[in-house]
Symmetry: D2
Subunit: 410 residues, 4 copies
């Protein structure tokens, strides 16, 4: 392991926010090292503007802005949709799977640049530090990792600002407190302030950015049509779209209709509960559409077992265990199940609701012949009698054992 | 096993509908037996009016109308809410758990009356026949069960009507086709007709009875407050209520706000898929409230494991395996987890949406001290570093093994 | 569906035993049809001798003897070893996975021959009828299946013999009763007679055929060495062997050392319990070797999750659900996990015991550096302290909540 | 949290071995505090002799020797047998469940004595530190825990001895290196030395203490008879025995017959793999007897689900999560399943093998009537046909869908 003195070059996961701005200074001050800022573009959009200039001004020797959006959608988001993975029944993992992809690129750049360490601005109380660092370990097990929040004496936002002012670090924040946010193509999360007490109703009109409030959503529904191929959305309203564009369009229309607003108290990996509000408009539509399509495309045994796999998959993603043999093996399972998840579904979006307005699939296992209440030729109702007798045989045997016991007792 | 000739008295699960009306005649005609009609009141309300008179007129020698509503709520509905059991991610099991309770009472009456057999009007293609018969087997393993739909030559509603007319059975139905429905305190289900093609959007304005359509729901939200004790709802809006009344009130307000409308293609136990629309307004509110409260009252390991148990519990209930050792053992697990699920939650109901507007619990494991982004005393951020190193050790070891392998290859 | 009259040609799963011998006659008598006997060679060895002649003599128009041994090992046995699937903790599925492969070939021959139906000699109380028929349905969903034991009036072995004698069917059995057996490359099963009472100790000296009794096994141990590649055994004692030969050799040496004798009461798919004794000498060695090797080749999360998958995989195989999407998807999961299950293991075989006598793998995740009790450089013991604090945080938070509650109570 | 200066009295988990002997000195030297030694007697037997005298001589102000054997058996061992919990398919958790009970008593004494901290001698690389500390947190979340191995500079056994010699701490160890052992009523574990390389065959003749080697076990089998009530062993050879005595007797006879020797590479909670040899003679007999009895006493669905619960239960016990809501809720599940696990079983013990020599239960669900190959009255073989058709319906529907697709392709 490298000791402090040997650290000459650090690659920093840079966002341009307060934290990583002062970390550049702090690293240079404490390690006397060069700092290379790396921004992973996973769809933060406007948050990316001016980042390179800012990083250099703040003391970075170089700034990489890496467009990871396509890879993010195809290799992280889509596999998770296919899994149907939802953390604790609510959270669509928007931040969770953004960390591994960024960390992986950090390692690549660190190796290319011959850096001695990787640094990040994650707090010591959250999940993101784990997600970042596990991904780093997966690709560079001996890489030194620097997590200033776990080391320095700064304890709060106020002290950060003070630190910046003292050193004349050009920061453009106001003293106005704000929710802690994480934004990418898939979602926007909000934590902190009044949300820290679960007794408080979230002030949605102040919080929401991607979504309308339910009340402000249009009074008329929007209809959309999605096409999936092998579990992956490929068309919106009969237009073939790449994943990034498709999600952006769904975010827009979903957000308008107030789709995908979640409020939850979740269990962090590091042992405490936290409360957050998430906006995932497009993602929520995709999950719903995919799940419904699976209802006709998957047989019962597969669908039921996949529910359990989804729980585990969600845990792994949430915990930052993306680059692990188990996640990869579960993905192999899931991909196999998705071979027939192909079809079209129409959805009605209306004031927070997504209503299935009809779906079809060439692989549909729904068979009107079997299901109908009317006359049918294919199904022999008498079969049920044998089925029930054998399916219920353990119940019969047990009831008889009990009868015998009771008689014996007399 | 009894042979046909020995059947002198049959207890019939009677609903007053077309099916069970003609079954009375059919049983008497084919077995030359006495038929006792038994109605299990699980909250069908208006469907119960005039049933006794009708049964006797149609040929029953006696008609029992059994009020099972309290038992239904306390011994079937509440245990299932506590489990958080949802079949295939959507169905709140409204019909599923109504069958065992009715069948149990049928057996009790059959034994009291010295009946030779129990009959029901379930079709040979559905789940209900299984649920009825498994429950009968659990309490009377040698009881003869007669399921006319699996025996007789009648193949359709039309033929039933013909059969009734020929025998002058007083039936009060029109030729107008209608959805197949099942109603009780907890829900109302709809199957058949245009719903039999999943490509069709349900005509909600024609289908819904308990619920407003989303569009017709009020433009202003309703706020309600629920109190749970050990996982069971005990108060609505600060009024202590018995379970039946509480659910009725929630059905009313939930229905007004278009809560709890589900459209799904489900996998029946007997092997085929079927499509149904369910209205469960009060139930949907209770599930949401209970789930959210668990977020603060259950620790992570318990909550995550319970998700898996809920999947199995739902399968058992759906499959009619209520009176089985596994269902009982799972309930023992669940009851243990519910000891601290006590607290209050306020909900905003608005056009199909249920929004958590604040919750509290004396057993809350949410700790602002630990969760806060601000300065804190209780949590040592440095602990994370050790945690991550050990949690990630398998990843490190694997990455090093791979490095070694690669070097060896050269 | 074909009616009886249209059945002109039947393909029969033929074993040459009493059952299938009289079934040839019975089919011809009752359907007036041609009967083609098909024997699936899955390693029954001596049971195959003279089968063709016998089939023709008994009335078959043709007799196929299909060598399925290689396919049996590579496509059925090895995937199940890789899964580590054991039914109810004991049964290595020897009969279970032999049925699908035979049924698949039956369908292929039935189609080639233009047969109208497939017949088998399985009893109506067992699992094999299900396994056969599910496999037939998977490849020929409309194929008529004839299961004489579920139709005819013959109720016992005695009546079968009588039936044969009346028709002068050349059978070579004695009246001596015997255990019901099923033999193939993988195992030999025994059921019936005194085994039908679980209170009886099996008379192993009379029952065992593949294995010595424990007492008769040699007093000196045998050492063997196995090499696995991606979860599949490829070498025995440094000799590269095809799967069939390898299993045969292991059966011999395992049998000598009384390895792999199992006595169990199992739960059949069709609802009742049954008791059987199984001999699986080579298979037991392979399972043990594979499991031990996985201990060093798989990481903990994968290994633990795979334990659960193994339970499901075993159920599917036992239930005859080999040709189902879920079995295939689970195999995709398993194959992914096996990519690093490569290595060598030495085993000592001694009087029923298999002792691991050392193993190595290039992919070993066991790291002496980390595990050692001696001095080490790679592991910072201080990390544990942080790990324990966070891993135990939910316990701390709960204990504090309870303390607060108690104080509040005073 | 207490700071170092405020620590005036420490309660130490004392074993009398080298580690805890020098820890007494080290604590007094570093904290200038009183040290109270506490020994939890969980059946270490001869290891307990002279401990009090030794502790006082080594500097402890007091020494508690707490007899926890009955509680250990009834509240920790028996619940785990009932669960059928085995870690990673092999380990019977002998050390795992001994830690929580000792820690619980440590807390009780610490509170009674007004101690400021609890200390233990567990290494920073193992599981035991976690198990100890989680149990402490459960009962005293604010108690200071001192783990010298994670703090001091001593890095090896050699340095420990040096430390002792320098301070004239009366230790009675030789320089002879030895396996690291943990002994209690339930088992004896061995780690270290040549075992640290999984390529080495264990030198059983040098290692084993509770058990004969297989080769030295008697040439004649021993038969024993066990009676269980609700999953708990209550009689051996028709003699009613308390749990401690019963296990001791089973250890003796099991050990003679070389029962219960396990060699494994296990995954520690703290992230690395380790290799150990375990002797659990009596425990292995009890697990086998209990499992076999469950085969006739539990219905299939319960038995299968319990297999999964056992996996989780084993993880929790192994991880030291005994005092958690999930472990308690799983125990509620298990206890419910054990209500009918009552009966008698005879076992033959012979050279490492345990052979079921017959079992009976008043609650047996094994029914010869149903299982028999002979004629029977209770089971209608024709029922199978309906069962198979419905159980296989998803396969049929899928096969037909595929046929349709293929036709469509042409």
């Amino acid at each position: 392991m490298k000791n402090i003195n040997s650290i000459k070059k650090v690659v920093l996961a840079y966002s341009g926010g307060l934290d990583t701005s002062i970390i550049i200074s702090w690293l240079k001050e404490n390690y006397n090292c060069e700092v290379i800022a790396v921004v992973g573009n996973v769809g933060q959009k406007d948050e990316l503007i001016g980042l390179e200039e800012k990083a250099l001004k703040t003391g970075a020797s170089k700034c990489y802005i890496e467009d990871l959006t396509d890879e993010f959608v195809n290799d992280y988001i889509f596999p998770t949709i296919k899994a149907g993975a939802v953390y604790e029944g609510k959270y669509l993992l928007g931040t969770s799977f953004a960390r591994p992809i960024i960390a992986k690129r950090l390692v690549e750049i660190a190796i290319k640049e011959g850096a001695d360490a990787i640094a990040h601005g994650c707090t010591g109380k959250g999940n993101d530090q784990v997600r970042f660092e596990l991904a780093v370990k997966a690709f560079a097990p001996d890489m030194k990792i620097i997590a200033p929040w776990r080391i320095w004496d700064i304890k709060s936002r106020e002290e950060e600002i003070e630190y910046a002012l003292e050193r004349k670090i050009p920061i453009s924040i106001s003293y106005e407190t704000n929710y802690s946010k994480d934004k990418n193509l898939w979602h926007l999360s909000h934590e902190g302030l009044d949300l820290e007490d679960p007794a408080n109703e979230p002030k949605y009109d102040k919080i929401l950015e991607m979504c309308n409030t339910l009340e402000n959503a249009p009074d008329n529904p929007s209809y959309i049509k999605l096409k999936f191929e092998k579990g992956i959305p490929v068309e919106l309203n009969e237009e073939k779209l790449d994943g990034v564009t498709l999600i952006e369009k769904l975010n827009k229309i979903g957000g308008e209709n107030a789709i995908g607003i979640i409020d939850m108290v979740e269990n962090r990996l590091v042992g405490m509960k936290s409360r957050g509000v998430y906006e995932t408009p497009g993602g929520t539509i995709l999950y719903k559409a995919h799940k419904d399509l699976e209802e006709i495309c998957l047989d019962k045994e597969t669908a039921h077992y996949k529910q359990q796999v989804a729980l585990k998959f969600a845990d792994l993603v949430y915990n930052g265990q993306w680059f692990t043999p188990l996640r990869e093996a579960l993905s192999a399972f899931i991909d196999k199940t998705q071979e027939t998840v192909t079809g079209e579904i129409t959805l009605k979006l209306y004031k927070g609701n997504i209503i299935n307005a009809g779906m079809t699939s060439p692989y549909s296992l729904y068979s009107e012949e079997y299901a109908t209440f009317g006359e049918d030729a294919v199904y022999n109702q008498n079969d049920s009698s044998g089925f029930i007798n054998l399916f219920g045989l353990p119940i019969t045997v047990k009831a008889k054992m009990e009868e015998k016991l009771k008689k014996g007792d007399k």
